[in-house]
Structures are given as C-alpha cells and as structure tokens.
Symmetry: C2
Subunit: 195 residues, 2 copies
DNA sequence: TGTACATCAGTGAACGCGCGTTCACTGATGTAC
DNA sequence: TGTACATCAGTGAACGCGCGTTCACTGATGTAC
C-alpha cells in the first residue's frame, strides 16, 4: 500500500472529527462534502473510500459529538463537590462559552430541530444517544426512582438546549447573558426545590 | 385587471399561510417554492409577483407562525382560572397534540436551531417575535420584577420548546408521552416553587 | 536480489438533480377616448 | 356605446449554481515469484 499502515484510520477519524464540528456549526444541509475535504487538504472523490455517503458520516459525526459533549459535562461534574455535581453540569451547559461555540457544544442544542427530518437510521441513533446522555446524568438528579431521574435528566437537558438556542438567536450580547443567567438560576432552583 | 380587486391580497395571504405551515414542518431548506405554489394550484413563476424572494417569504411566514402560536396559547390561558393561567399555557404547549403537529405549533420549537444560520434580517425578526411572546406571558409569571418575569417567561418558553423537540425526536410514542408528562410536571412545579 | 504485478487511498472531471430566480409571453379586464 | 390600448397576475421554459455521487485514472508501495 501507498500509505503507512495506520494512515486510513487516521484520515477517517480526522474527517469524522471535522464533520462533527461543522455539522454542529452549520447544520447537516449547510455542510458540503467538497468543502469539508478541502479543509483537510483532500479532494471530495476520496471521501467515498471512507464512507458510504453523507448520511453515514452524519451518523458517525453525531455520535462523536455526543461523546465529546458528555465527556466535557461529566468532567465539569467531577470537578464539583459531591452534592453540587448537577449544578456544575447546569453551569457548564449554560455558560457563555458553550453558547458561543456551537461547534464544540451539545449536538442536541445544535441539531435537535432538524433531526426529525432525517431518515429513521439517524433518528434512532440520535434517540439512543440522548438517552445515554440522560442516563449518565440521572445519578446526579436528587430525587425520584431511577426511571424518573432519567426522565428528569432528559427534561433538564432539553430545557437547557432550548435556552442555549434562544440565547444563540438573541441579537444582543447583554440579552444573551441575561437569558443564560436566568436559565441557570431557574434550573438550579428547580432541582433544589423539587425533583 | 384580470382578477377581482381583492384577489392579489388573498393569494398572497394563502401563500404566507401555507408557507408558515410548511416551514415549520420541513424547515426552510426543506421547502421548495415550486412545491409550495403547486399545492396552491399555482406555478412558481408567479411567486415573484408577491415576494422579493424566499427570504422575504420566510420572514413573513415566521411572523404568521408566531402570531398563530401566541393566539392559541393565550386562548388556552384565558380558559383557565386566574391563578392557573401559566399552568394552562404549559399544559397546552407540552400537549401530545402540539407535539404531533409541528406545522401548527410554536415556531421556536420547529425552527430555533436553524435561525442562527439565516441572514441578520431573519434573526432580528425572530428575536423580536420571541420577546413579544415572552412579554405576552410575563404577566402570568408569579414572581419577580417585570424584567425578571419576562426573562423567566423566555426561559420557560425555550425549555418547553426543547422538551417538545426531544419528544418529537423520540422513536417510541410511550417515551414521547413520558417526556412531555415529566416536562409538564417539572415546569409547573418549578413555577409554583420559585419564580 | 530483482522484476512484474496487485493494491488501494487519493484525484479531478463529469453527471444528474433540485431549486431559486428570471423573463418573454398570455389573456382577461379596466380605462381612455 | 364602442374600440384601442394598458395593466398585471399568472405561466412555463430556461438559466445558473451548488452539491452528492460516480468513475477512470494515478502512483507509491507491498507482495509473489
């Protein structure tokens, strides 16, 4: 073979990683394969040596985005004292940095509304990833049965994703901050007060 | 003129109305002008007698969607006893019917994530409409200053929009119902407990 | 060891399709005279 | 009242562009003998 042993795997990983960022920033229809490949110093034809098509790339990029996001949020939780871990997740999710960087943020906030218009294969993958994320946060929820905690975690995640979206849509930075701050207070208060 | 006096206004209104539904169901990139016009018994060429282009239609359709959604939610509030109006809004927004019918539902839930990728003219219009919606619900929020109530209303709206999106993405109906039910309980409890 | 061949990641032209937009044209009705 | 002309919503062919995907080809390296 022309390229070293590990070459293909590395290129493939770079494509998924770059796509994961671009999809979150621009949506799946806003990303062109040729642009993506050009940024990696490649041409579009070679793409199909790695993936069946754009759908497959989207699915893998989505999984990578969920993994990255989960890892980041759980790391924030791990840095907090035991009884403040869910609050740490809320603070991290609703931070101005998260809001300003959709490319590295939660894929739910970035892509939720368009997932419903993707083929079933994408929707079930998304669905599963959301539940995995909720399952990871469920132990941090203060009250309720295991199933209730997981659903509360889902409500929390979806609510924070919605808040980030509105903040991103805001035209003034002061308003953006106000929405994020109010959402942080709201969710932390709600979790403290009730399950 | 070939057509009766009011004809043009009526056609224009029908286009905006149909577009408002289609955009919410399929996203702005998923709607083709030719398809839209064909469903109204017209051809695509005539579209440009009414609108400068797709962007202008999108802006007007968005405004129509906000107006329709606000009206529907305020009507639900008006049917409830005075101290239960915001809860009625929560129940209406997070109902299975709302979830099942994006075409007639809240444009925030349907379009939030893609608004950020539209031209500024669209973003400011969206921003303004969101604030108008929040201002309409602010008086129903139990606690806080006027500014705080409005921001709480925005957090509530954004949170409910996120919950509806996750419910729509769910692959099983039982899960959809569970998310909606949990979200209703969460937000009603949070509003009762704290501002 | 040297030679012929196979492999396969990557290239870039080409294809097909969808779609937004333009434009010359139509034809029914209003208006000027 | 009748006739010629203007108006303009709507038509449908055509254009241009972006983009996903295909495909014949390249060329460096591994492998068989």
């Amino acid at each position: 073979m022309r390229y070293p042993k590990e070459h293909k795997d590395q290129v493939r990983e770079r494509i998924v990683e770059a796509a994961s960022r671009r999809f979150r920033r621009q949506g799946s229809e806003g990303v062109a394969i040729a642009d993506l490949m050009r940024d990696l110093g490649l041409t579009h034809g070679g793409f199909y040596r790695h993936f069946k098509g754009k759908d497959q790339l989207f699915r893998e990029a989505l999984a990578a985005a969920f993994a990255q996001s989960r890892q980041k949020l759980l790391a924030a939780a791990a840095r907090a004292p035991e009884n403040r871990r869910l609050e740490a997740v809320v603070d991290a999710y609703l931070s101005p940095e998260e809001c300003a960087n959709p490319a590295e943020g939660c894929p739910i906030a970035a892509l939720a509304t368009e997932i419903a218009r993707h083929p079933r294969s994408v929707r079930t993958a998304f669905d599963r990833a959301v539940r995995e994320l909720a399952a990871a946060f469920a132990p941090l929820v203060p009250r309720g049965s295991a199933a209730e905690r997981e659903r509360t975690a889902m409500v929390l995640i979806s609510g924070m994703a919605g808040a980030v979206n509105l903040a991103r849509a805001a035209s003034e930075d002061s308003q953006r901050r106000a929405i994020l701050g109010r959402a942080r207070a709201f969710y932390k208060g709600a979790l403290r007060g009730r399950g």
